[in-house]
């Protein structure tokens, strides 16, 4: 994941290898295509073709027994949107909040690893990545234990009256945290936090420490240094991190299923149940297409605004 955003800091080398002898020129022109062949073919067959196929499925009608036919039944889209727009809205809202929370929580940690951890740096990095190796389902189930109704966390929040405030804000209900929006957002934040921290860390780590010194020499307060030097330089990491958090979070349904109630179902839950339980493939396909379109639109606007094109 580190690499997902990090062309490492060393010199950007000119990519072509020295001039080859002439007779090899023809072969060399073919080499990249031969190297690409297998990987690209795999993606075309198992990623692009399914997408195209799904586009056609979304305008089909029929049933499991009689089979599905393309009838250009575009109304599926309208029906899906009319019925499930709250789920779409909720997905975008929850994942948006979770992304902001990830940034708020992840930035100090990434900053600490990059500038303050010293010889603990690698240890902390390992601790950030290691939870990945315990299945995320198991870890999400652990949140069920942590946030359990009679558990220490909930009783503590109750005693200090935090839950009164959150109930008033309608993000929790009564003296429960489980089966509320708060629990789902907490779970999403937790699950995707490493995806935020790693790109942030790689872009922070690349910053030349002398810039901080220079800023301090010019009488900038630490906060000004952060605002004018560190943060702008870490923007590519912020953009990559928010995307890597927001996109998977918006399609997630595990957290809503395990930590939420029926009132917190996200669009992923709907797609999953349409596909695997209701077996209404056209609706599932239409819903995935709307989700994909929404995400692509948001991401495009966001990247334009943030002004970074170099993501890959």
């Amino acid at each position: 994941m580190t690499a997902a955003t990090a062309p490492p800091p060393t010199s950007p080398a000119p990519a072509t290898v020295p001039a080859a002898p002439r007779r090899a020129a023809g072969r060399r022109r073919l080499t990249p295509y031969l190297l690409l062949l297998a990987g690209v073919a795999w993606l075309l067959v198992f990623f692009v073709a399914p997408m195209v196929y799904q586009a056609s499925t979304s305008v089909q009608t029929g049933s499991l027994d009689e089979g599905f036919k393309v009838t250009w039944h575009v109304a599926t889209y309208w029906d899906a949107l009319r019925e499930y727009w709250p789920h779409f809205l909720r997905s975008l809202l929850y994942s948006g909040i979770a992304t902001a929370a990830c940034l708020a929580i992840g930035y100090p940690l990434a900053y600490t690893i990059a500038f303050r951890a010293g010889r603990w740096r690698n240890v902390v990095l390992v601790l950030v990545i290691a939870p990945f190796f315990t299945s995320f389902l198991i870890r999400t189930l652990a949140w069920e234990t942590i946030l359990a109704d009679q558990g220490p966390v909930v009783s503590f929040l109750n005693t200090v009256h935090v839950l009164d405030v959150t109930s008033w804000l309608h993000i929790t209900q009564g003296d429960r945290v489980l089966a509320t929006p708060l629990a789902v957002v907490c779970g999403l934040t937790y699950n995707f936090l490493p995806f935020m921290i790693l790109p942030l860390y790689t872009s922070l780590e690349r910053i030349d420490g002398r810039l901080h010194e220079a800023s301090g020499d010019l009488y900038a307060t630490p906060f000004t240094t952060f605002r004018k030097v560190t943060f702008p330089l870490s923007l590519p990491g912020v953009v990559a991190g928010t995307l890597l958090t927001f996109i998977p979070a918006s399609g997630d349904y595990i957290n809503a299923e395990l930590l939420g109630s029926t009132n917190q179902k996200m669009i992923g839950n709907v797609i999953q149940s349409q596909f695997l339980r209701v077996l209404d493939y056209p609706t599932a396909a239409a819903l995935s297409f709307i989700l994909m379109a929404a995400i692509l639109a948001i991401v495009t606007v966001y990247i334009r605004r943030a002004g970074t094109e170099e993501l890959v």
Binding site: A3, A4, Y33, V126, T134, I146, Q272, L276, S288
Partner: protein
């Protein structure tokens, strides 16, 4: 005038926030660890009853769990090999050559990473369904290889792009054949990127639930076992496996660090 503790706090507030964030990340793992020593009263392992090492002594004491675990490990190994081979070749092509269709290929690599898993899983599932391909081991393997591929490409590409081309030129100046140059210079230099990609693939494949659930049919991988058991009470053994994976991963990374560190030390 600022008192000394206040000044200390101001200086270290970032570190404190960082430590809290780290705690947030680690807390569930600690809970998983603690509850792996629990002897739950009923079927649900949510509340502490009393200490026991039963689950650690009989990690395979639950029906079907170890079968699903070996299946997941096998899948992860195959998917890692497939994705690493295909991804490394693609990465070399993208990093080393300028050719027509390069931008489109970059886009093709980027898209799977920018797609919610539900969308990818559902669409691939629809394809298999309509081609009347039986869901099972092979469909899962195909899906895993597909979504791991892009991550390998990105990891290897970043590494290859940052490699100093003069090293390979030097090798050729010293009369190394292209094959020798590749095997003795290029490949070792690219190895950290390839290893990172492979490790990531393994973790992604082993842990994937969403895409797998659309392409598995009746085949049960470990995450699917956990999901299924969550509805009727997760056995304590699941916590044992979770903790063991965590410990093994940490040990592997630490060992890798030590070996890497010693090599680096030997070279300088």
């Amino acid at each position: 005038m600022q008192t000394r503790p206040m000044r200390w706090l101001r200086k270290n507030v970032v570190v404190l926030a960082g430590v809290l964030a780290l705690g947030y990340l680690i807390l569930p793992n600690l809970v998983v660890l603690a509850f792996s020593f629990n002897k739950p009263k009923g079927r649900f392992n949510y509340t502490w009853n009393h200490f026991s090492t039963d689950a650690w002594q009989h990690p395979c004491g639950v029906a079907d769990m170890c079968g699903s675990l070996t299946l997941s490990l096998r899948l992860a190994v195959y998917a890692t090999i497939g994705a690493t081979v295909l991804g490394t070749m693609t990465a070399f092509a993208l990093a080393r050559y300028r050719f027509r269709g390069r931008a489109a290929t970059n886009m093709l690599i980027f898209l799977p990473m920018a797609m919610p898993e539900v969308v990818m899983g559902a669409s691939l599932g629809t394809l298999f369904l309509n081609m009347r391909i039986r869901f099972g081991f092979w469909t899962i393997l195909i899906a895993h290889t597909m979504f791991c591929l892009s991550f390998v490409v990105v990891a290897v590409k970043a590494r290859v792009m940052s490699m100093d081309p003069r090293l390979e030129q030097a090798a050729q100046d010293l009369y190394a054949t292209p094959a020798q140059t590749f095997l003795r210079i290029t490949l070792p230099l690219a190895a950290p990127g390839i290893a990172a990609g492979a490790l990531l693939s393994f973790a992604l494949s082993f842990d994937d639930y969403i895409i797998t659930s659309f392409n598995a049919g009746n085949t049960v991988t470990f995450p699917m076992f956990v999901w299924g058991s969550a509805q009727r009470g997760t056995p304590v053994q699941v916590n044992v496996i979770g903790t063991a994976m965590f410990v093994v991963a940490v040990l592997l990374v630490v060992a890798g660090q030590l070996v890497g560190g010693r090599r680096r030390g030997a070279r300088t």
